[in-house]
Structures are given as structure tokens and as C-alpha cells.
Symmetry: C2
Subunit: 287 residues, 2 copies
Amino acid sequence: VRVAVLGVGLVGGSIGLAARERLGCEVAGWGPNRPTLERAEELGAVDRSAASVAEACEGAEIVFCAAPVSVLPELARQALAASGRETAVTDAGSTKREIVAELGGDERFVGGHPLAGAETAGVGNARADLFAGARWYLTPTDRTSAALQERVREAIAGLGARPQAIDAAAHDRLMATVSHLPHVFADVLVGLAAAELSRDSELLPDVGPSFRDATRVAGSNPAIWGDIFAANREAVAAAIDDAIVRLDEARALIRAGDAGAIAAWHAAAGTLLDALDSSARARGDEG
Amino acid sequence: VRVAVLGVGLVGGSIGLAARERLGCEVAGWGPNRPTLERAEELGAVDRSAASVAEACEGAEIVFCAAPVSVLPELARQALAASGRETAVTDAGSTKREIVAELGGDERFVGGHPLAGAETAGVGNARADLFAGARWYLTPTDRTSAALQERVREAIAGLGARPQAIDAAAHDRLMATVSHLPHVFADVLVGLAAAELSRDSELLPDVGPSFRDATRVAGSNPAIWGDIFAANREAVAAAIDDAIVRLDEARALIRAGDAGAIAAWHAAAGTLLDALDSSARARGDEG
């Protein structure tokens, strides 16, 4: 099987490594940055470096587009233009509504999003097992070719991921809540702590583990996250709306000072978290 | 040195273990629950079990009160009533303004708060090294005996902690921001995720590491946290006020959709987090 990888950073490089090692694919790579592309070839993430998108896509059965979400629609459009009628073009962007709205009318395009790789960046961190056990959402539309969708599904399962079809808008709302909002909360917590400490120079920046865990992702990969927030701005803004409503409720409850009522509210969150965890475990093997 | 520990759960039990092992103290223990007290004695957290607060405090140079914040003022009051003029009475509560307002007029009372032990509970998890390297705030007032404060300070340094004096109200504001608010955020995130998943039964509870880290403390120790939120209700409500202001700003920024401006905002949080981290490291050895 021949595949093309457009964009050979952490995610694209890992797709290349896994496709070569796990599926025996021949991988053509392209990227806008020549030294990065050469490094990807050195690391074995691609068999050969292409001089253009068109050259990379030539003869490929699947084209993976792995670039920042702000440039993905244009990159995938170029890939579709350069590819034949039997080529599937997919992407690895963290938001899906925008790109699917633009390209979902082409039966060869299958939007995708692997839940992996947000923590680091760069082809130097690419690993063949980056997607092992990770959920990989696919966002086909009514227009998407069933055969090409199945081809992509099989390929990403072969990379070790757990494919799951989902509506693009539902995907973006879910990610706004479980991924993008935690990043906003982390940034807000850090800003509040810094303001508190600057107000009183005698205070020490001693924070407990809850603060460290809650703020670990604060400020991570600013360019990538600026793009993600902007691409998913409506869903993230709606998630913040919902969060403010709940914070307002929590504030009223806490201000009223009934320890038993507050404990019951807090315990309910623990019950929900346990339910999420066991539900995630129960569905862990689903294809 | 003779010390008394009133309340022999995780924190009180660890104080007893550390005082015996590290300081060679003779530890008298008391707790409202007889089986727990017997277990503490079996585990070596106390030398002897007292039948009453008064019996435990007899002859003690320092009395540690380690109970839920809702019962701490009354417990510490009993300890002060039962103790002689040369006995220091301190506590390990997570909030300080309330207890200091009630007891700070007694020169023998030194409010305290070790930043340790929030993750687990029960004397079965007690460890002699629970406080090793941990900040331990002390909240003396103008009325507090300097000699008794110094005695407590030396003792907690001997337990392995890093003592630091701080104003009780400033302590509670700081904790509201760096500890209590992260718990509120965790609960809110879990509630939002559960609501999102219940809205669409096809969605999977697949969440990334940012969600898992941000929600790890959701619903933890409900009784303890109900008490903490209630005791620190004004400062927590004020922290939520500030958080909503910042969320409102973040929402406007994200909704405007300028990826560069969003990236700059996100990057600023990373810079502040780095500054907090290096400041914490630089002050790590301070006594």
C-alpha cells in the first residue's frame, strides 16, 4: 500500500513510522520545511521525500494531511486536486467542522482526528506507537465514499488506533468540553495565581498537586492552540458559557455555606467521574 | 518532648509517626473513634491512647489538632482549656481565618496548615515522611507567644516540613486560588462532560490527558471538602468571581477568532507558569 504524508511533524512523522513498521506501507512525505522533511527521512518516518504535494500524492491510496488546523483545509484541497479518483484524503486536525464544511462535499475526503500527540511536538518525538490504543475519530458526511472511508478506517486501525465515526459538529462540541475548555481553565488558573502572588510579595508560590495537575497544559504549544481555539471558537465559547453558568451555581452554593449541601455537590462530581471512567473502560475495546 | 495528637487520621497519624521516628517524641493520641485510635496505636502513630482530650493534653508541650475544619475550633478550644500555660496548641486545618478569629486571642494558639495529605485519607495511609519537603504554613497573630510559636516552628521543621508564617486571611485567599478553585473547576468540568455525553448517546467518553489531569480531584473526600469550601466560602466565592471575569475575557478573545491574538494570550499563561515554577524552585530552601 502506498501512502502519502503531508506534514511530517510529530503526528505526520508518527503516521509514517507506524505505516512503514506496522503496515509495510511505502510512504512518500512532503512538508513545507525542507530540513524537517530530511530529518523525517533520516528517522525512517518516510521512504522518500517529495518535492511537492502533487509528487507525494502520485499513486497514493491514502493521503494523510497532518498540519496545523489553520492550513489544513488548503493543504487537503491541494491533495484532493493532485490525487486520482480512487485516492482517500484524510487529515489529523483537532477540529473538524470547518474543514468538513469546506471539503466534505468531495466523496474522497474523510475528516479525521487522532487523540494523541498534544503533549509534545516535532518529528524528533515521533513514535510508531503514538496511536496505540488511542481513539481516532473519523467524520464522514453523507457524500463520503463508503469504500474510501472503510479504507481509511482499516488503515488507522492498522496503525494501532481505535477508529470511531462521529458527526463533525458533535466532535467539535465534545472536544470543546473535554479538551479545549481544560486548556482555558489551566490558563485562567495560572493567571489568577500569578495575580494573587503579585498582590502580596510575602506569599510563596507553593502550590499543591491539584494546582500542578490542573495547570500542566497552560500555555502549551501556543501556535497550535491558537489555531485550535480559533477554528473551534463557537463551540469553545459555548462551553465557556456553560462553564460560567455552573461556576455561578457553585459560587451561590458555596457562599450559602451549608457544608453538607456542598459536600453532596462535590460528591456528585466524583460519581460522574467514576461513571465516565467505567464507561470509558467498558467501551475501550470497541472498534 | 511530649506531644499530643488530637485526631489520628491521615494527617494526625503522620504527625504522630514522624514525631516519634524523627524527633523521638512521646506521643499521646486521642480521637472520637475508638477503633481508629486503637489502629493508630497498632501502627505506631501514638505511644498511648488517651480516653479524653484532657488526658491526651496532660503534660504535652505541643498539642496538634488534626480534624475536619468544621470541628477544629471546638477541638482546639477544648485543648486550650485542658492545657497548661506553657503548652502550645496548633492545628492542621486547610483554612485559617475562621479558627484564628476564634482562638487567635489566646497566646498559646498557633494556627497551622501543612500542604500535604489531601489525596488520601485515614490512618492506614499515614506515613512518617508525609511532610518531607512540604510547606507548612503557620498563622500567628499579634497576641501569639513568640516562644510558643518558635517551639511549633522547630517541631514542624523537625517533622521534615518547611515552616512559613503568613497572615491567616492572606493564606485563605491564596488557598482559595491555588487549591480550592482547582477543585471547583474539576467538578465543573466533569459535570459539563457528563452533560455533553448524555446529550448524544453516540459520543464516547474518550478524553485526553488534559481532561484526566484537570479532573483528577473531582469529588475527592466530599466531607472534608464540603467543610473546607464552607469554612473558606468568602475567599472561594471571590476566587470564582475573578475566574468568571477572566473566562469572560477569554471567551471574547476566542470568539473574535484571531488565532495570533489567542496564541499570544495562551503563551502568556505558559510564561507565568514558568515564572511560578522557577520562583517555587528558587524559594524551595527557605525556612
